[in-house]
Structures are given as structure tokens and as C-alpha cells.
Amino acid sequence: MSSRRSSFRRREKPAFERFKDHCRHFTAFMFSNVGIILLVTFYIIGGAFIFQSIEIFEYERLKSEKPHRFIARNFSGECLSRIWELTAENISFFDHHAYRRRVNDVLLDYQRAIVKKQLKGPDVEQWSFSGAFLYSLTVITTIGYGNITPHSECGKLVTILYAIIGMPLFLLYLSNIGDVLAKSFKWIYSKVCLCRICPGVAKRRIIRERRKMRQLARALQMHDMENARGSSSYTSTSSTTSSNSSSSEYTRSSRQSSSLVDIQYTESDSDIEREIRGSTDEITVPVTVCVFVMVGYILWGALLFGRWEDWNYLDGSYFCLISLSSIGFGDLVPGDRVITADRDKVEVSFILCAIYLLLGMAVIAMCFNLMQEQVVHNIRAIKRGFKACFRCRTS
């Protein structure tokens, strides 16, 4: 009956149905993964345009409304006039050390003015398309370098809304791409691991047969013990339960013996392939491999940024780790040196940095997924061992 039903179901699905299923899976894959990537990309580019227009518009508005703010104080002129007054005062006696000390004080004030202006100065030149693009990327990924920040109120409000909408989108991207990368990496790892397993298939089979023989022996022993208990008991209820258990044991032992005979007879290639597939599905990637992948990616990024930005090797590693863990101090930011140099190189540098960060975050999400699976697997094994130990203690 069951075999007839299975054959009927297999006949029910012709090639057309299979083709339709494959098309459905492919469409779902395209819409879920590639669609999300495109959505994130368009969201970042749209955000870049919005922030750029907002900040430039705000700057122009302030410039037109309050022109006196943007006329920078002539610090150098003031310093020059003060030094001239000092020089004029010292016409009568040429005291070298006193003159230098007073000039030093004037220069110190001048230096402080320069430092303040340098630290607090709002630069609209930063809000080029590349800068706005990097800013949008850092908002969504919660890195937040802080080298570019909105100074207008409208910019700040739009940043808040942009973050609230963009962060769930980015989390969705991370989870989907992380899953896809985890499956791909697991498949690659199983293929690599499979080459080692091929000679050991026969050993595995022998071990399995031995295990089943042991289980059969244990079942027989338990059956004998329960028979002894049944004979020793006097109440009718216990005898009925023991008889039920003994009958179930008989059926189990008969099934196991029949399955053993079946295993001995069927040794075709299809069974071997099924076993291999099952073993590959159950493989869990160890934690060391995940850590190795993460460290390798960070070092690779260090090499890349060292070449692009002329950074130290330690600085490159430091930047990659700080960025990928989404801390993002902002002391080292790609493009800082390139902003003042050339406009064309800025695009390439920022785009490559953006691709590195997006892909890197997905890689880290993949590694965390695999580590989580490994940890869950280990916890289950520990729990099973603890349960077995608990049973031994109770019995």
C-alpha cells in the first residue's frame, strides 16, 4: 500500500512540474537576495543625494541670510598688527630675549585661534557625492565615523529618520546574505572535507554494523532482564505491563534483524551517495575555521587599505576591525588624504571601501551564523551527556 502510494506520487510529478519548481526557487532566490542588495544600494545612493542637497541648500541659505558670519576674522592681520606694535615699542632698546618672549605670546594666541578654527570649522566641501555616500553608508551600518556630520537641523532630523528606516533594511540584508554565504561556505567546506572521507567510507560502514550488533545484543539482554522481572512479580497489573513490553521488545528485535539483513544485501552506489549527502548536510563548520576566515578577511583588508591610503599595517588592521565591528572611531577614514588631492580618485576609493564594508559585514554575519550552529550543537551534545549521566545516577 505505502509503496504503491509512493510510486503514484512520483508519477504525479512529471518533468514539467519539476521545471516549474526550479523556476519558482530561482525566482525566489533572485527576488530575495539580489533584490535586497539592489534595494540597499539604491537606498544608500538616494540618501547620498538627499544629504548632499540638504546641506548645500542650508549652507547657501545661511550664507544669504547672515553674510557676516561667513566673513572669517583676519587672524593673521591682527597678529601682524600686534607684532608691529611690539616692534615699534622696542625701537629704543634692542632686547633680544624680551622681544622673542613677547612675540612668542602673540604667536601662541594666534596658534590657539588657528586650532579652534581648524577643529570647529564646518566644511561644505566635505559634502561631495562621495562624502555623502560614505556618510549614508555609515549611518545604515551603524559605523558612524563622524568625520562628516550634518550641522543643519533639517539634516539632523533627516538623519534620524534615515537611520530608523535604513537599519532594519540593513539587518534584513545581513540576515539574508549571511544565510546564503553560510550555506555556500558549508557546501565548499563539505566538498573539501569530503575528499578526506572517501577512503573512510568502508570503515564507517563497518563501525555502523558493529554498533547495530551491539544494540541488538543490548536489546536481547534487556529482554532477558524484563522476563526475569515479569516472572518474579505477583500483581496482575505489573505482569500485564511486562508482557506488553516483552512483546514490543520481540517486535523491535525482529525489525532490527530484518534491517540488518537488508543492509547486508543492499550495497549499491545510490546508497553510498545518499549516505554521503546525509553526512555533508550534517557537517558543522568548526569555530577555528570561522575565526580564520574573519582574521583572513581583516588582514586582506589591511593589505588593500595599506596600498590605497598609505597606512601602516597596524593602522590598516586597526581600521578594518574597528569598521567591521561597527565601532567606527573615525580617526582613520579612507579618502581623508584623497579629498584634498583629486576628485576622480575619491570615487574609486569610496566605492571600493563601501563594497569592502558591505561584503565584510556579510562575511562576519556568515561566520556568526556558523559559530552559532556549532555552539548550539555543542550545547545539545553536553545536554545529552548530562541527561545520560543523570539517568545513570537515578537508575
Binding site: 593673521s76 563622524g146 572611531f329 580617526d331
Partner: protein
């Protein structure tokens, strides 16, 4: 028959105990003892997990603060000496210009001095771009500031207002982040779960108070009661959003009062911090006055008679007040993160439930469509089925 007879007393007895022969054999005197034991076990588990993890994070942050203070204060700030050399060079050049050109010839003197000043300005600008802030490492890396730095590393906010500059500092930051972030994630998940459970309990209590009258009317229908109990457990998203909004509003008012920011800037800071973006343009630690600043002001007072003693006294009182503010800020950040995790858990539950309902609806719709399709052209299928049978 025998199994039914055995199962009947179990609902009459303790609900939590598993049904079986062992429960029947146990005497009633053991039940309160087991209950007390279970309560003790739950309490110990709670203490070990929640308070333990929280204390572990605090200790980790404090140890990290001391380590960073020790490492970064050994940083010999070469830029300060460099700036001093630049200033000495500039004054020397000015003196040589004064010697070279006679004072009577002002135009030539002005041109030469202007060139020197412009060169000096560009040099200072370059030094500032490379990270010179005009304060010594001992002033920058005080204990409150270092603690804030460690918090920003662990929580992945990363303000960036102060960063390690020595190679040892950078390496230690990498290691500190590697071990601190998983610890923070553990705290985040645990605190989120506990707060979600507490909030759900609170919401259920409020819901029961509100729904008291209709419940009495519906007491007769058991099925309705079961449905109501199921519906009450799910907390809606609007409640979570309101909680987050009120928390952010509280933080906005608090920081606006302390740091003298505008309301928009304070709100902006709270949002960027709780979302872990952390630009660093607004940092509560930036206005922290340290003991090093007090010492510097004291030296300045001794050197220059014209300095104001009242300013020094005010500076000392402000420095004493910083620690309590910093502690409250620390608690605000950690609790805010836990609250965000709580809301995330509750929203995820609701989204999962709605997704399940949507899936069931889609399944019913698909089945209905399939039945209609079969009803329209059922002849080949019937023939195929006849052939099968």
C-alpha cells in the same frame, strides 16, 4: 482503562509535576519542599545570569579604563614639542627679519612677516589635521573619559572623540573589542529577554485591569476565555514604540539640562547613540573637566596674577560633580541598550505571529484556488483516479 485510571488524579494534583507512576507514589509532604527548591534554583539562576553578566560588564569596563589610562598616558606627545619648535622658529625668523630690515621700511617688513605668518599657519593646520588637539595625554585620558571610551568600544558606538594613538593602544583596543563585544552581546540578549518578560507581565496586568468588566460577562464561555488569554500575551508594536519614545525623550531632557545642548541636538545624540551609530560630534564626555585641567588651571593661576580665582573654584566644583553625571550616563546607555533589545524581542514575536497567520491565510487561499481549478476541469483527474483504483 488502567492508563485512564492512572492519569485522572494528575490534574487534581500538582499541575507542574509530570504524569506517571512516580507522581502517584510521592507523598504530599514533598510538594512544598520541591516548590521551595525550585524557587531557590530559579533565584540562583537569575542572579548568576542577569546580575552576574551586568557586573561582569561593569568590571570589564573599569579594568579596561585603567588599562587604557596606563597605556595612553605613556604616549609621548611629539606634536606638542613640534608645535613649540615651530613657534620658536617663527619668532626667530621674525627677529631676524627685524634685524635685517630697518624699522623705517614698514612695507617690506610687513610683506616678509606676512609670509612667515602664512607659513606658520599652514604648518599649524597640518599638525591639527594629524590629530593635535592642544591637550596633553594626561588631560585627555582621565578615568571618566577612559570609562566612556571603553563603553563606546564594547557597545560598538564608537564616538571617536578620543582614540588611542600608540601602537600598543591600538593593539589593545583590537583585543579589548574582540573579547568585549561578545560579552556585550550576551548582556544584550539576556537583558532583552528579562525586560521583555517583565514588560509582558506588566502589560498583561494592565490589560486585565482594563478588561475586567467584559471578562465577567464572558465568564461562561470557556472557549472565549482561552482565546482572550492567548491574545493578551502578545504586546503590540505601538506599546514598544511608545516605551522607546519616552525613554529617548527622558534622555533628551536630561542631556539638554546637563550639557547645555539644544533639544534637537540632545535628541539627535540619544538617537545616534541608542542606534549605535555614534558620530562623536556630540559626546557627553567632551565637557568633562578633569583633575589635570584643575592642575593646569592652578599652575596658570600661579604663573599669571591676573587670572581669576573664582574661575578656579568653579572648575574644582564642576570636576567633583562629573563622576555622578558619568555614572548616570553609563547606566542610561546600558539600560537603553537593554530596552532596545526588549522592544526588538517583542516586535519580533508579533511579526512572527502575523507571518504565521499570513502563511495560514495564503495556504487556505491556495487550497481554495486548487479546489476551484479541480472543479473546473476534473475529467482527466477522475479518469486517472479510476485507472489507479
Amino acid at each position: 482503562m488502567a492508563s485512564k485510571f492512572q492519569r485522572k488524579p494528575s490534574p487534581g494534583g500538582t499541575v507542574g509535576m509530570g504524569g506517571g507512576p512516580s507522581s502517584v507514589s510521592s507523598t504530599p509532604s514533598n510538594q512544598p519542599r520541591k516548590r521551595v527548591k525550585r524557587c531557590c534554583r530559579n533565584f540562583v539562576t537569575f542572579m548568576c545570569t542577569q546580575v552576574g553578566v551586568g557586573a561582569l560588564i561593569v568590571i570589564y569596563a573599569i579594568c579596561g579604563a585603567f588599562a587604557f589610562m596606563h597605556i595612553e598616558r605613556q604616549f609621548v606627545d611629539e606634536t606638542a614639542g613640534h608645535v613649540m619648535e615651530l613657534r620658536q622658529n617663527c619668532s626667530q625668523q621674525l627677529w631676524s627679519i627685524t634685524e635685517q630690515h630697518n624699522i623705517i621700511d614698514r612695507r617690506r617688513w610687513t610683506e616678509a612677516t606676512n609670509d612667515v605668518l602664512r607659513e606658520y599657519q599652514s604648518q599649524i593646520a597640518g599638525v591639527v589635521k594629524h590629530g593635535y588637539v592642544g591637550r596633553s595625554p594626561e588631560q585627555i585620558w582621565s578615568f571618566p573619559a577612559a570609562l566612556m571610551f571603553c563603553l563606546s568600544v564594547i557597545t560598538m558606538i564608537g564616538y571617536g572623540n578620543m582614540v588611542p594613538r600608540t601602537p600598543w593602544g591600538k593593539g589593545f583596543t583590537v583585543i579589548y573589542a574582540t573579547f568585549g563585544i561578545p560579552l556585550y552581546i550576551l548582556y544584550f540578549l539576556n537583558m532583552g529577554r528579562v525586560l521583555a518578560r517583565s514588560f509582558k507581565f506588566l502589560y498583561r496586568s494592565l490589560h486585565d485591569c482594563t478588561q475586567e468588566h467584559p471578562r465577567l460577562d464572558r465568564m461562561d464561555a470557556l472557549e472565549g476565555g482561552v482565546g482572550m488569554t492567548r491574545k493578551k500575551v502578545i504586546v503590540p508594536s505601538t506599546a514598544c514604540l511608545w516605551v522607546i519614545f519616552f525613554y529617548v525623550l527622558t534622555g533628551t531632557v536630561m542631556f539638554a539640562n546637563w550639557e547645555k545642548w539644544s533639544l534637537l541636538n540632545s535628541f539627535y545624540f540619544c538617537m545616534t547613540s541608542l542606534c549605535k551609530i555614534g558620530f562623536g560630534d556630540f559626546v557627553p564626555g567632551a565637557s568633562l573637566t578633569t583633575s589635570a585641567d584643575v592642575n593646569a588651571a592652578t599652575q596658570k593661576l600661579q604663573e599669571d596674577i591676573s587670572a581669576d580665582p573664582a574661575e578656579l573654584a568653579q572648575l574644582q566644583s564642576v570636576a567633583a560633580d562629573q563622576h555622578s553625571k558619568l555614572a548616570i550616563n553609563f547606566v542610561y546607555m546600558l539600560l537603553g541598550m537593554g530596552l532596545v533589545a526588549m522592544c526588538r524581542n517583542l516586535m519580533r514575536e508579533e511579526v512572527r505571529l502575523k507571518a504565521r497567520e499570513m502563511r495560514e491565510d495564503a495556504k487556505l487561499c491556495m487550497e481554495d484556488t486548487r479546489l476551484r481549478f479541480v472543479g473546473c476541469c476534473g475529467n482527466p483527474r477522475d479518469a486517472y483516479e479510476d485507472d489507479y483504483y
